[in-house]
């Protein structure tokens, strides 16, 4: 197992925490938490095999969050001295005091055992140890390979993040963590007459290091070798006829549908209205817990902050709660929500399941998504076997456009590739396809889920929520799955053409 970088451990973590927590106690805070973070992000962008731009930025600072007289107070600072930490703690208490007249719901937190420990995510090669020129050369070689096979243009990018967090609270929990994640992506573009289109790699972002680009966890050369021909076929494909079709959806597309229609819909803060003015609420209201038929009986969904290489995997969350795995949908019924400590106590759900997260030292932790994943069927079918059960349908691969309403009912998704299914066999690509459905109708129409051999962990670096806006990385695992009678739109016709 890798170790936390010594230069982070060399920062005055405990001295700052002690100063802040002591000051908060002196000023009468019922609860106080100190969090020091360093988040380093490097992004490279190439166009047609040439470096177009790169950035290497970090965010370093600390935050103090208190509860004073039942009201939250939060302040962030950047000067790493005990005096500054104590001053920021006093600011957090002052913010709580100023805000108290506006607060009608006293803040109380679910109990959590005291933890002390160190946790590092699973990766082999720190991407920040790899010289920039090597990364540019690799992406450039891949891009040149695509250009040599007849595509017009290639854009390539590599995002790399190292997130280091030190947390200490007034209950005695002290944790130190380091997570690494990478997201390589290439998009090939081609014109044919008046048409143009593109095709992106399906490789998901992962909680791995640079080894992901060199053969561990994904075979980039193999995927890239297929893209020019697939893109040419897509450009020559017929436009879809709008109507209802059976769908077989690959994990490279289904992860995003899970994210939008299950992940966000089962966040308890949304269900209770705390995101009502921004991200929205949820059709899966709290009174339906244990009752709502979310999907067909073969639907089983878990929230998980412990999955290997998951982007939302942690040792402890940003309220000092240990990472856990829990059920959200069991046999098609809603049985659980994602929680933070306040929400857990507010609704009498016992211990938090560890879903608090802040994306930077300047932001307060809010309830964010675990790795929410659809479980495969033990001994279940392959994608080919799922397709064999469709007479007239469409096979969907790769995510692209997505949109869902503020209660998570109505969604519309497109993809990277759509194949016509005729009598159980693939019959070439289709263009201009979008699928549109209501969440529960869609999941209740799922009549088969693939076996573990079809399971892939997809995800995103940049799930947005909260005000001020925060982004969170999250993974979603799923098998291929089959859905009956889903509405398909022709996007050209939708545009009035």
């Amino acid at each position: 197992m890798r170790q936390i970088d010594p230069d982070f451990l060399a920062l005055p973590l405990r001295r700052l925490a002690d100063a802040a927590l002591q000051r908060a106690r002196e000023l009468g805070a019922e609860f106080a938490a100190f969090r020091l973070e360093r988040v380093r992000a490097e992004t490279l962008r190439l166009f047609d095999a040439r470096l177009e731009g790169s950035s290497d930025a970090d965010d370093l600072g600390f935050a103090v969050r208190v509860v004073k007289n039942g009201t939250w107070g939060f302040a962030g600072g950047i000067t790493l001295t005990p005096e500054a930490a104590a001053e920021v703690a006093a600011q957090a208490v002052q913010v709580a005091e100023v805000s108290a007249p506006l607060n009608r719901e006293p803040v109380e937190l679910a109990a959590e055992p005291v933890h002390e420990g160190v946790w590092v995510s699973l990766y082999d090669v720190d991407p920040f140890d790899v010289p920039l020129r090597d990364k540019v050369a690799l992406l450039g070689d891949w891009s040149a390979g695509l250009l040599a096979k007849g595509v017009d243009h290639v854009s390539a990018s590599l995002m790399q993040v190292k997130e280091q967090k030190f947390y200490a609270d007034s209950a005695g929990t002290v944790t130190t963590q380091q997570r690494v994640r990478v997201h390589p992506s290439l998009t090939a573009m081609k014109s044919e007459g008046a048409l143009f289109d593109d095709m992106r790699t399906l490789a998901p972002p992962v909680g791995r290091g640079y080894e992901y680009l060199t053969g561990t966890g994904w075979d980039f050369p193999a995927e890239l070798a297929e893209i020019p021909d697939l893109l040419a076929e897509k450009l020559a494909a017929p436009s879809v006829k709008a109507g209802d079709y059976d769908l077989v959806i690959d994990p490279s597309n289904l992860w995003l549908t899970i994210h939008e229609s299950i992940g966000h819909a089962t966040e308890l803060d949304r269900a209770l209205g705390y995101e009502a003015a921004y991200a929205g609420t949820s059709f899966a209201t709290f009174d339906q817990l244990g009752e709502l038929t979310y999907g067909s009986p073969i639907m089983n969904v878990t929230g998980d902050r412990t999955a290997d290489h998951g982007l939302a995997t942690v040792g402890w969350d940003d309220e000092g709660v240990q990472g856990q795995r829990f059920d959200i949908v069991r046999d098609g019924t809603l049985v659980g929500y994602q929680l933070d400590r306040r929400m857990a106590l507010l609704k009498g759900l016992g211990r938090s399941n560890g879903c608090a997260f802040a994306d930077s030292p300047g932001h307060t932790p809010i309830q964010r998504m675990a790795n929410v994943s659809l479980q495969p069927a033990e001994g279940g079918p392959s994608a080919e076997e799922l397709i064999a059960g469709v007479d007239d349908g469409i096979y969907v691969l790769g995510d692209k456009s997505w949109s869902i309403d503020m209660q998570r009912y109505n969604f519309q998704f497109t993809g990277q590739r759509f194949y016509k299914i005729e009598n159980g066999r693939l019959a070439g690509q289709l263009r201009d396809v979008a699928y549109q459905a209501t969440t529960t109708d869609f999941w209740r129409s799922m009549d088969a889920v693939g076996g573990p051999q079809t399971y892939v962990l997809g995800g995103a670096f940049n799930c947005g929520k909260g005000q001020p806006g925060q982004v969170a990385p999250v993974s979603h695992g799923c098998p291929a799955a089959r859905f009956r009678g889903v509405k398909i739109l022709n996007t050209v016709q939708e545009g009035g053409k």
Partner: protein
Amino acid sequence: MTPQEVVERALALPGADDRVVIVDEDTTANLRFAGNTLTTNGVARGSRLTVVSIAGSGTGVVSRAGVTPDQIADVVAAADRAARDAQPSEDARPLVAGEAAADWDRPAEETSIAVFRDLAPALGEAFATAEAGGRRLYGFAEHLVNSVFVGTSTGLRRRHDQPTGRLELNAKSPDMTRSAWVGAATRDFTDVDVAALDATLAQRLEWAKRRVDLAPGRYETLLPPGAVADLMIYLYWSAGARDAFDGRTVFAKPGGGTRVGEELAKLPIDLYSDPGRAGVECGGFTVAHASSRESSVFDNGFTLGPTKWIADGRLANLIQTRHSAEVTGLAETPAIDNLIMEGPAGGKSLEEMIAATERGLLLTCLWYIREVDPQTLLLTGLTRDGVYLVENGEVTAEVNNFRFNESPVDLLGRVTEVGAASQTLPREWNDYFTRTIMPPLRVPDFNMSTVSQAN
């Protein structure tokens, strides 16, 4: 050290052929509330040093937060190393030359929780009024001040202080079935009238007491300024010259080149940016922390002026760097941080447009807007927080929400009326873009693709 001293020290260190140094000082304060009570709040401060080093035509960019004086040399050395390792930059140009601006030495401006000294009690009163009136208020108030200092090894020294404030108020009935929204963009909250905004919400929740369900279809639709802003911001973000020139966007001309000069709207619509426009003032020079398709680190300090993107209904300019302007043969028109749309003089107010409507839909705002097809800039999204039926010049009921599929470019060609422009807060994009002046629009056939059950 002051930001100006950090700039000078970083520029003075030996190593690279040329250098650009950017220091950002940020302060922020926010209040968030739900169900007539405060939920979260906070204040925060940030400081960032960005060094762009140029060695030959290679560039290296390193950005670090919370840099202490003894760490400046490390950041500069890292940027220098990256520049020496880099391939030649395609966008390489001589740095913008200049001298120290007259306001260069002023200290950075700041905000604090005190910016809400009038807003917080007004919100408290609004919560009480809402509670008594059977409404629940949700929303967010935020104030940010960014002070940016840009120095180059060619002598240029420019700074800008940008205050950005926004207030969103969302009212719901206790059963959450009726919802209304208003928003305000502001520089300092002194011009925000919470009681008036709350009264508008109360009126809209009253409108929603009568409910009519309508099927999907194409409807005559009145888009209020905030909804127009969200559509036009997406159009603006899609107006990169390089992508158009490479054949990747709605602004690409089939067969090569761009659509600059082509008629997009039959009405004499102007869409433009102007750093000096009152109420939506923004930085008057380019600040680029990294190069991309639409920005170049070599353009830091480039003076920005009023720029028409659409003039009299015709596509006039696309977002350019100095490099992409050479490639495309078009004018040097970098991105600007505000957006203004105006139609012919004498445009009506939204209320007058409602009064002149025989039967149509009045929207409040659009939400979850995403691109479906870049070739046409077809966007999808939802109506949110109030779709109203207008009959014989009056709002008569609330209508269910819809998912729409529409292209803002195609829509410009179908608009039949442009109202009077006013400053507005976009709903979807106000995390990133708050400075807009937009008119209401009448669209005869807005495509409501399907019904959303969301309230």
